[in-house]
Symmetry: C2
């Protein structure tokens, strides 16, 4: 049977860890794959663990016992985080982004995997110690970000629809009033989409008054489920009275200045 060097085992273990965030991988997976003793694999993991701390790139945890194993928990060094948030502020305040109606065009940012991956790490790492069952979002622009957070937390994504699709089976629909423009909107979710009694994190691209977030809280009540965390990329701080408490944002939008560009600051959560 084939033998592997420590370098080779570390390469293989790293791939599996990074590709399965927040999932406990049993040590037997590696002892079998690399035809090595448990003590050998444990030493490999110790090297990996120390390097994660040294390089500030998240952490690797080992859990003992029968269901024990090793798992990778996403994270970012303070320096990298600072650089990323500054970069976000910079691109969001680019000149060409203000479109008629005084909206910020940010679709390209929300659909850029390099950016969304990092934003996902920031948001996911704040919820990592809670027992999250699902990450919930409402279509469309926040889906890639919500997907990243779900992946990093190792849970299923749930997407609430604006309409009612035949391919969803029985659905529950609620009407809600948006907090900023006071319009009535509908959102619906398939009965099959989540188990009753779940704990959910709601992720979205932009929060104005928080009407959508409150709508989600009410919709999830129909599934006997609760929202235990809310995370958005941008928060509009011009609307100071929010309809929800306890949310985190990565950057803050403070209106449009005289040069017709958005005024964007790092939010207090990631300074």
């Amino acid at each position: 049977m084939e033998k592997y060097s420590r370098n080779q085992r570390i390469t293989g273990i790293m791939k599996q860890l990074i590709e399965n965030p927040n999932k406990v991988i049993n040590l037997n997976t590696f002892t079998e794959k690399f035809n090595a003793a448990k003590s050998t694999i444990s030493e490999d993991i110790l090297v990996i663990k120390d390097t994660f701390i040294k390089l500030g790139m998240g952490r690797v945890e080992t859990t003992l016992g029968a269901a024990g194993g090793v798992r990778y928990i996403c994270g970012m060094s303070k320096m990298e985080r600072g650089e990323f948030v500054s970069f976000l502020c910079q691109i969001l305040s680019e000149e060409h982004r203000i479109i008629p109606g005084n909206y910020i065009y940010m679709t390209d940012i929300m659909y850029n995997p390099e950016i969304i991956k990092k934003a996902g790490i920031l948001l996911a790492s704040t919820f990592i110690n809670k027992e999250v069952d699902y990450v919930v979002t409402v279509e469309t622009k926040g889906i890639p970000l919500a997907y990243e957070v779900a992946k990093l937390l190792g849970v299923q994504l749930v997407i609430v629809r604006r309409d009612n699709k035949v391919t969803e089976g029985t659905t529950v629909s609620i009407n809600y009033v948006t907090g900023s423009s006071k319009r009535i909107q509908t959102m619906s979710l398939s009965r099959k989409a989540l188990r009753n009694g779940s704990k959910c994190v709601f992720i979205d691209d932009f929060m104005k008054a928080g009407g959508t977030a409150r709508g989600i809280i009410n919709l999830l009540k129909e599934f006997d489920s609760i929202v235990i965390g809310i995370g958005v990329l941008i928060e509009d701080i011009e609307i100071s009275e929010k309809l929800v408490e306890d949310y985190i944002s990565i950057v803050e939008f403070a209106g449009i200045n005289e040069e017709d560009t958005a005024v964007i600051y790092p939010s207090k959560y990631f300074q």
Copy 2:
């Protein structure tokens, strides 16, 4: 200045490679990070490269020259691929999945990061040698899969909307006729969403007659752009006359049997 052992360097290099698929990372990034000579880093990468081949988990390529460096290209061993496709066939033919109207309920599958990550590797690896500028999808169910493929190809995602949103600025809308039910539908895309003259890959969850795919081809013509590849998770082979050629699917749907379950086979592309 801090020194790192080979094991530690490999741990750090692996993290950066796996998290940045299909992106060339300059060797200087690593020589600076680890305070090591280029020859040392080259040896580290050689170990990684060989291990990828040995374990059949994609590949690592080095390119020479000023813009040279190293990049990770996603892949899956034949065995893992076979297991994954069988697993997909099995869960898609579960009893409870047929919903009124004879649709397969597959939302949970399309929003499951563990499944979508693997499906993404299968589709992305077939387009990896083409010069892809964007991955395009149409909302909503295919978005996570399209996002994975975009991330693995190292390109931007573009999401075509069913409606017209104020936050998208100037949009181009087209009407198209669905291939199976002959309904007229609209799709629209922001003018800012992609550069003219781009090569795109279209990703979706399900293909019936291919009306949506043909609609995308026509929409992209308005941006002087072309579709150079189409990939779907499931293809309906009951509709044999497709409106588009040259597409790949992971599994085939061959109708519903007497036990009221979907008949699903591995497609010819991934056998």
